[in-house]
């Protein structure tokens, strides 16, 4: 299935986009997604400090991604 991934902060700079489209297998987990990500974007290999958000909430590696889900890569935050 096709998924859209939102990028922010330094990750958006490293990849050069504010959102990317990726193809992943149905039933993939967040953990699987992280592997696809590094495979497709090797510049992230040396930069691995980020969280993943699924539908606007922090996600665990074991959570399953479904069609129409929104994924975002959250680099270390610095609000406030």
């Amino acid at each position: 299935m096709q998924i859209e991934v939102l990028l922010f902060g330094i990750i958006a700079d490293l990849i050069g986009e504010s959102n990317i489209s990726m193809k992943i297998n149905s039933g993939s987990t967040i953990g699987d997604f992280k592997k696809y990500l590094i495979a497709n974007y090797p510049q992230l290999k040396t930069y691995t400090t980020y969280a993943i958000a699924l539908n606007e909430a922090y996600a665990l590696d074991r959570q399953i991604i479904q069609q129409q889900d929104t994924i975002a890569i959250i680099p270390p935050v610095s609000g406030g």
């Binding site: 939102l6 922010f8 330094i10 958000a53 909430a57 610095s78 406030g80």
Partner: protein, 140 residues
């Protein structure tokens, strides 16, 4: 009655609005934390800060913090307001206001809220120096 006010806006924040939101005759104390843009970091002069956010999630996370505060501390109301966009030295990126019957809860709740915001809310600041720009915290 609404006891939580969350804002993420590109206009200047208002101390007055935060105060008026949390103020109540049942409360004996209001604690307000104001974050401000300072002019230096690690010995280097800062020109301005650019705040960007994953807006819908930032609002959700600020809401979660506010709900947690009301659950954990004996406070009455809380306002968490954050600015986004380019901020100059002296501008205010964040205000946290808490009202309570007694001051200890207000102090503790306010500190908890800002400390948690800095760990969980998806907002990022980029420091602008004379010779370039750097994302804060992003370089291990």
């Amino acid at each position: 009655m609404n006891t939580i006010s969350i804002r993420l806006i590109s206009e200047p924040l208002s101390l007055q609005k935060c105060y008026e939101f949390v103020d109540d005759p049942t409360c004996g104390g209001i604690d307000i934390f104001v974050g401000t843009v300072r002019n230096h970091t690690q010995g280097k002069a800062v020109e301005k800060l650019d705040f960007s956010a994953y807006s819908p999630m930032a609002i959700k996370e600020m809401q979660l913090i506010a709900e947690k505060v009301l659950e954990k501390f004996e406070v009455f109301k809380i306002a968490i307001h954050h600015a986004e966009g380019m901020l100059q030295i002296g501008d205010i990126p964040v205000i946290i206001a808490v009202s309570a019957a007694h001051r200890v809860a207000a102090f503790e709740a306010c500190q908890y809220a800002i400390n948690t915001l800095k760990e969980t809310v998806p907002i990022w600041k980029k420091e602008h120096f004379e010779d370039g720009e750097v994302w804060v915290n992003a370089h291990p």
